[in-house]
């Protein structure tokens, strides 16, 4: 495999937000002492008045977001995904979703991105938590292009939204020449007839690599990138079940309430076929992100093995090798260290 360039999607997020804010002075950013980890330093320099850093107070942050929207502004409310969601969930439900407030919630560094900072900082429950809330679009971009496009979509649409902005480095996965993100639509990145790998966020590039591995085993796998988790693109999922007969989902989130559960429901109600749902289901042990992804089988190899398993094929010879790269806490390296939300 060639070494691909990988990107922290927060950079695309931050750059796009600055671009949009230049053209639209209704756009403001709100954060919880997370100017650094939400990558808002450039925004703060350019629009100091329009950055509202409330300090370490997530309930206040989301409520303030709702108030800003009420006053006619377009707030992007940014914080580490787990604190934003776990700490302010009732504000998200009542002040944002139920109030249909024009608030863009931006969950930064989700999933296992905080690596060795541990389960208190991991945000693996967020997709389950947010999908359960009505009228709240949940968007998970898979690469920089999708991230920028999703931020543009959020700015242009009136109403609540949650964007899950990845930190763990990912390569480009969006096919050039097509719109990188269409709200509510999943993207078929690779066609295939034997099984469908349905992935989101950081898992999309790994699903593509898994498909390459599977090709070597004679399995022709389709790869679908679901960047809108809620509402789900039912048609694409129905087509996957009907046309390929087996589905594997992969996400950096608890699957039984996240993407996995969303896909499972559609499959069961339309065309029941065997599935495997990949994602962390326990609190993580200590370790950097790449290690934890391996630990939970969230690698190209892990996805490929689950696919062979769901097809009843032998996984012998398929190593445990993943796409490990990036992650936090390179021992002894020194440097800026790891912010913590």
């Amino acid at each position: 495999m060639t070494v691909e360039e990988t990107y922290d999607c927060r950079d695309a997020f931050a750059a796009e937000l600055v671009r949009l804010a230049r053209a639209d002075d209704r756009i403001v950013a709100v954060c919880n002492d997370s100017v650094g980890s939400s990558k808002l330093a450039a925004f703060a320099r350019k629009f100091p008045e329009r950055l509202i850093n409330v300090g370490i107070a997530e309930q206040d942050m989301v409520g303030i977001g709702a108030g800003l929207a009420n006053a006619g502004l377009v707030p992007f409310v940014c914080g580490a995904a787990t604190f934003l969601t776990a700490r302010a969930l009732e504000q998200i439900k009542a002040d944002v979703a139920y109030s249909l407030a024009n608030v863009k919630l931006c969950g930064m560094s989700p999933g296992l991105a905080y690596g060795a900072l541990g389960p208190t900082h991991h945000s693996t429950e967020d997709l389950s938590w947010l999908r359960a809330i009505a009228d709240l679009p949940v968007v998970v971009p898979a690469d920089p292009a999708q991230t920028s496009a999703a931020v543009r979509w959020a700015a242009q649409t009136t109403g609540p939204a949650f964007l899950r902005i990845g930190r763990f480095p990912v390569p480009d996965v969006s096919p050039p020449g097509e719109p990188a993100f269409t709200y509510g639509r999943a993207a078929r990145l690779r066609d295939g007839a034997d099984a469908t790998l349905v992935a989101t966020g950081t898992m999309v590039s790994r699903a593509l690599s898994a498909a390459a591995l599977l090709a070597g085993h004679g399995v022709d796998a389709r790869v679908v990138n679901v960047s809108t988790i809620s509402p789900l693109d039912r048609e694409e999922i129905v087509a996957a079940a009907r046309q390929t007969g087996a589905v594997v989902t992969a996400e950096e989130a608890v699957p039984t309430g996240g993407l996995g559960a969303a896909v499972a429901e559609v499959v069961l109600e339309t065309r029941p076929v065997p599935m495997r749902l990949l994602g962390p289901r326990t609190f993580a042990p200590t370790g950097e992100t790449a290690f934890l992804l391996e630990h939970f089988g969230l690698t190209a190899g892990g996805i490929a093995r689950a696919t062979l398993d769901v097809l009843g094929l032998d996984a012998g010879g398929l190593g445990a090798g993943g796409l490990g790269a990036g992650g936090l806490g390179a021992g002894g390296a020194g440097g800026v260290g790891v912010d913590d939300g």
Binding site: E49, G63, G65, G67, N70, A71, A94, Y98, A101
Partner: protein, 302 residues
């Protein structure tokens, strides 16, 4: 579904009521203090009576807190807020956020006196498919700025509104009405700190200080005193007034600002105010009057 269809649907402005409310506002603006007090008292009496009837008819409501907050809402809508009930989303309007959302009936009733929607729609309160839910929903009720009901949500939202209006260069003000028990929620203190840090002098919090919460006295549950000291230590200007004295409320809310601090008005109230057998009785937090109690209450409120 007949009831549902009758109850559901959009709430539209009541132009007759709007006209009456505008005339009242004009009159009050030029009236002397005695006349102003009398007019607001009359308005509040009507709101109390309608609220009681509405709760009785629906079999649901928060009678005690509705009666304790009535004079606060009456004063604000009757003499303070710059709003246009015909255009509930007028960008330059003052914002009133009822954080103690369980007192929706007092709010809904007050909104009808301004003409946000017709008073006869109060009969659908809590009925199937009605826009008038047990707690105010921003989706359905014109004049409701944010959906409330879970306590401790209003002040952060109010802070956001005030920050936003200032950013937009609007002179409009933001008033948040809170319960006292509600102040046990830490979210309020987050917002209080932020409001002071940002010098939000356009923001006013009015505390309905009735000394009771759902199950007991606030002092017996988790004492809030010294309450004024708390707000001062959090950087707010504090005024304490009789929360049933319309003119005192009016003065406290409209007094000129000495600096850039947000203002907290601690309005000393009586839960169940105006109905002798409800006053200061914790069980009337959510007790619903039966026919006889309703009759007696309306009598006392005449």
């Amino acid at each position: 579904m007949t009831l549902a269809q009758a109850a559901g649907g959009l709430l539209l402005p009541d132009h007759d009521a709007i006209g009456a409310w505008r005339r009242l506002r004009d009159r009050l603006a030029h009236a002397d203090r005695a006349a102003r007090a009398a007019a607001l008292a009359a308005l509040a009496g009507g709101i109390r009576r309608t609220a009681i009837s509405t709760i009785h008819a629906a079999g649901l409501g928060h009678t005690g807190g509705d009666l304790s907050v009535t004079d606060i809402l009456t004063t604000l809508y009757g003499a303070v807020l710059r709003i246009d009930p015909a255009r509930p989303d007028w960008p330059e309007r003052d914002r009133l956020i009822l954080s103690k959302g369980h007192c929706s009936v007092a709010l809904y009733t007050t909104l009808t006196t301004c003409g946000f929607f017709p008073a006869d729609r109060l009969a659908t309160f809590a009925a199937p498919m009605s826009p008038l839910n047990g707690h105010p929903s921003r989706r359905a009720v014109p004049g409701v700025e944010t959906s409330s009901g879970p306590l401790g949500h209003g002040l952060p939202v109010g802070v956001g509104v005030a920050v936003g209006l200032r950013l937009r260069g609007s002179p409009a003000r933001t008033v948040v009405v809170l319960g006292d028990g509600e102040l046990q929620e830490g979210s309020n203190w987050e917002a209080a700190m932020t409001a002071a840090h940002r010098g939000l002098s356009s923001l006013t919090a009015v505390i309905d200080r009735n000394g009771l919460q759902q199950g007991a006295r606030t002092g017996d549950t988790n004492d809030l005193e010294p309450l004024a000291d708390k707000w001062r230590a959090f950087g707010w200007e504090v005024a304490e007034v009789d929360g049933h004295d319309h003119l005192a409320l009016l003065d406290a809310v409209t007094a000129p600002h000495a600096g850039s601090r947000p203002r907290c008005v601690i309005a000393r109230t009586v839960k169940g105010r105006g109905v002798s057998f409800m006053e200061d009785r914790v069980e009337w937090h959510h007790k619903v009057p039966d026919a006889e109690q309703t009759r007696m209450a309306l009598e006392e409120l005449r």
